[in-house]
Amino acid sequence: MNTIAFTTAGQELAAALDPRFGRAANFLIYDTARKSTRIIENQQGRSAAQGAGIQAAETIVRAGVDTLVTGHCGPKAFKVLDAAGVKVFNCTAATVDEALHELLAGRLTAAENSDVEGHW
């Protein structure tokens, strides 16, 4: 767990955690070693006519992320993330900050499967 991605519409740790993965506005990437954050826009995923989850998963994987924290993850996105070795954590926390604390405190368990149908 070195590079963690959170789904959010905002830009910083205090921003709300977006329950959607494929159509989330941004991914906030947290580097646990440096304790630094950066933002990757989910431009392609949001504007995809179809396969938004797959596109978003590609963006995550290419950014070198090994852990994803989001509200829900559909089957296609999960398949891509799983194949690329990205661990997915479903979380109901209100903000990215809270989600990060829950994750680091070990209160979240890695998903073994997608938790929603496609297009939920």
Binding site: Q50, Q55, K76, K79, V80, A83, A84
Partner: protein, 293 residues
Amino acid sequence: MAAVSQNRSYRIAVASGKGGTGKTTVALNLAAMFGEPVQLADCDVEEPNDNLFLRCEQLTPHEVTMLVPEVDPQRCTGCGACGELCQFRGIVSLGSRALVFPELCHGCGGCALVCPTGAITERPHRIGIISTGQSGSIKLIEGRLEVGVSLVPPVIRGVRDQLQDELPAILDAPPGTSCPVVATLRECDYLLLVTDPTPFGLHDLKLAVALAKELGLPCGVVVNRAGEDLVGLHSYCQAENLPILLSLPDDRQIAEITSRGDLIAHALPEYGLMFAELAEKLKQELGAAGGRP
């Protein structure tokens, strides 16, 4: 265009632009009163309903398939070439074995061509079912899209492939003016546009007429639920040189009979006569190739 091909009988498409104008009602009743054996192609493959009215005793199914990639995990090196090529995320490869998403694949076969190790072979994937049956003088050809599939035009082409050249055909088109409708209108000789005298009906009729012009198809109009023309439908048709071949009144009996799954042409003789006349007019139009907008 009309009666063009020497060795093929004519094909009449029933379309509308706007949904719910009565395409299926017109297509079915026209087929029932055609005066000769006719094929009825239900091209509204996302929700085919012609057979609710025809109730063919036996339907013979034919599969429509599309080739989708299959990856041999032994030969795939995860180079990513396939995923880079695919614009639809039908195949994704991110440093691991390529993953296939058949429901997103458009069947182009490009991934198999660019794969440097020959790890991809193409296998047929079912995207729909074409059912054929007979009801009186009507030969039904119904397309039905597989649940979860979004590729409509290949299934409509599958319907068209089942059409016999020697019999005339009526094609019941899906609503709208996009790809599924274009797929239905290909190789048709005449377009019957069903509309209603509402602002939406007229607006979408104009879109459908623009499409007909683009495809070089002659067309005529059926006005359904005809009443007072508050939107200038008649003057539009006149200006566009579109003949109004039939006006169906806003009659409660039509709704009642249709909701029972019966045909108004059979249940009410005056409507039977109107559709028989429509069939005659269409045959004349096809002979004269008039009404081209």
